[in-house]
Symmetry: C2
Subunit: 367 residues, 2 copies
């Protein structure tokens, strides 16, 4: 059992904030506190839902596996979506985002995506999952194997009030008992299996998939992630239209990952990969310029489904509130389609829009 | 005539520094002071060599010319080299770098590159010039039309003690009288000539040249630069091996320029341009990784010619002194070849080397 957190002091220092979302009063940990990661939530009844810890990345397979792992590890697919923690609180299923916000979209959709009987049997369980697909309201990227809407993938489990993850076997047992959707588990390996792992990575790369997470099968449960070169190209492609919205390291980091993946897989860069990498930048930017010329702004349109109309309305309000002042959102449509309310909203890239306005207007820059 | 600078206060505030280089004692302006740009030098006899001012960049040709210029402007080729100010001081020809350092390489070579009779006739003249070519000791880039060593291009003139440039006609007269090498001057245009200028830019782009500077033909002498998409690709290509050495905006700025040049020229991105843009990043990075695997470091080797052996030795010392602690230089050779001393030295990219050491050694990164 973890020690109680020193919340009063953290609130004073603004390392923690009081929130009231979806009718739940709680305290959100903004900066890591006594081992509780950013995103930890302390609910009104004192229950703590610990944050999902950061996972480090290796960029060298052989050396990385050798150096990071002291024992065999599980290798699971990494899904390109957003991270949620799902748990039951006062008879409601709730879902916290990585940063510790109760997410109206996830809370609305989660009951469809998992068997609620799970929480009857395991009321203290916390599912750590990725929500991914073209119908997600946060990311422009989506895995190639999800054609529409969203899917959920449970990759870890915790217990309310505890910071650690359930061991692999305990997780598997619950996954099977409640038929929970999970990422593919490729098996249990050691550092000596780098060649076999390299083969799997090549296959994932060819299929346009993101990569894997290695999880040591020991109580310390050490982890590392490793991604394909294609995932870097896709990240660049999805983000290029908002080039100036992101820290520029977003792009240079991915280029370095890409080059090191080639090195690890003993590949040279090819005309085809060069072309795709250049296109990722230039087609995104060209689209941004064309969008600005057409609409006077650079924006991305999201389309996502809700079960409840109120949830959709609440989601836009929520997103406006939690986004910084430089993020501009505009609802573009909310209509009934079949069993769902379909929300369309735009995220307007203000830095990109402002910069193009200045540059295409003939402004002078000193760079 | 400009007002005398308040040097004592500037020295106290470290906006100015005392230096003793090549036997010349002077004060270098580190941060703009009373209108004297960074790089201004106040020599031991009180003479001021004003710094070369920053020139803003336009990224839209039509709107940029329209908005920036109130009168006809000259259009001159922009040369991809380093900026020097050449002047006579106590019977020596000296050359200051942009930042205000007396450059031992430039001082050694300048007497070969211009007719010294110029300064007999015009002792108070300051030539503002670009030194470019594969034999320059500062830049990895070099214009495609310089096959070896260096060339000098005079693009502006000032007078000792004055901050402004000589008018275009006065400059042309001196250029012709002393047969000074200059960048190509394309002529005198107005904003209404954008179509003709666009044609010239396309031609420069096809020839792999950098771009142009527009200089308003009025006393205010307002300026703007405008570069080709090829120059952005070449900048990326030359810098990719030192990806982490430069601010990441170096790369994102050039990608944006590239996309806007296409837009201005009404071109779409093409598979060939995409391929070259991707290759600029990936081939540079692949070479960096291969260099690290081979030599345990990422480095670039420079080869340059000096007339005097002492100048070559002094240059390496000078470069070590003025470079930051994160730049590592190593002399690799100095030998007589024909009329010259040929210096080889390496610039070792410490951030790139250290990062690859960590990553290829299996280190974990949190990004």
């Amino acid at each position: 059992m973890s020690e109680p957190l020193n919340l009063e002091q953290a609130l004073e220092k603004k390392r923690a904030r009081r929130l009231n979302l979806l009718g739940v009063r709680y305290i959100r940990i903004v900066k890591e506190l006594d081992g509780a990661p950013r995103g930890t939530a302390v609910l009104d009844d004192g229950t703590t839902v610990f944050g999902y810890p950061r996972i480090g990345r290796i960029l060298s397979l052989d050396q990385g596996l050798e150096r990071q792992f002291e024992a065999p590890f599980w290798m699971e697919e990494k899904i390109d979506g957003y991270n949620v923690r799902i748990f039951r609180h006062q008879n409601r299923l709730l879902a916290l985002s990585r940063g510790g916000f109760l997410c109206p979209f996830s809370v609305d959709r989660v009951p469809e995506l998992i068997d609620p009987a799970l929480f009857e049997a395991e009321p203290g369980l916390v599912l750590c999952a990725e929500i991914a697909g073209p119908g997600n309201p946060y990311l422009e990227n989506s895995p190639p194997f999800i054609d529409e809407d969203i899917r959920l993938f449970v990759f870890d489990m915790m217990r309310l009030g505890s910071a650690g993850f359930l061991p692999h076997e305990e997780k598997r047992t619950l996954v099977e008992r409640f038929t929970l959707p999970t990422p593919i588990c490729y098996g249990r390996y050691t550092g000596g299996d780098a060649d076999e792992i390299r083969e799997i990575m090549l296959q994932l790369n060819a299929e346009g998939r993101e990569g894997v997470v290695f999880k040591e099968d020991t109580p310390r449960d050490h982890r590392a992630k490793y991604v394909t070169s294609n995932s870097s190209v896709q990240d660049i492609s999805a983000a290029a239209a908002s080039l100036l919205e992101l820290p520029p390291e977003y792009f240079t980091n991915r280029l370095l990952r890409l080059a090191l993946f080639l090195h690890q897989e003993e590949l040279d860069t090819s005309p085809e990969l060069n072309r795709r990498t250049g296109a990722a930048f230039l087609e995104g930017l060209t689209q941004a310029v064309a969008g600005f010329e057409r609409d006077g702004k650079v924006a991305h349109r999201f389309t996502c489904r809700f079960r409840e109309k109120e949830a959709a309305e609440g989601f836009v309000k929520h997103l406006k509130r939690v986004s910084g002042p430089r993020v501009n959102l505009a609802q573009r449509g909310l209509s009934r389609e079949g069993d769902y309310w379909v929300l369309e909203f735009e995220r307007i890239f203000q830095t990109m829009t402002g910069t193009l306005e200045n540059l295409l207007g003939g402004g002078l820059v000193f760079d």
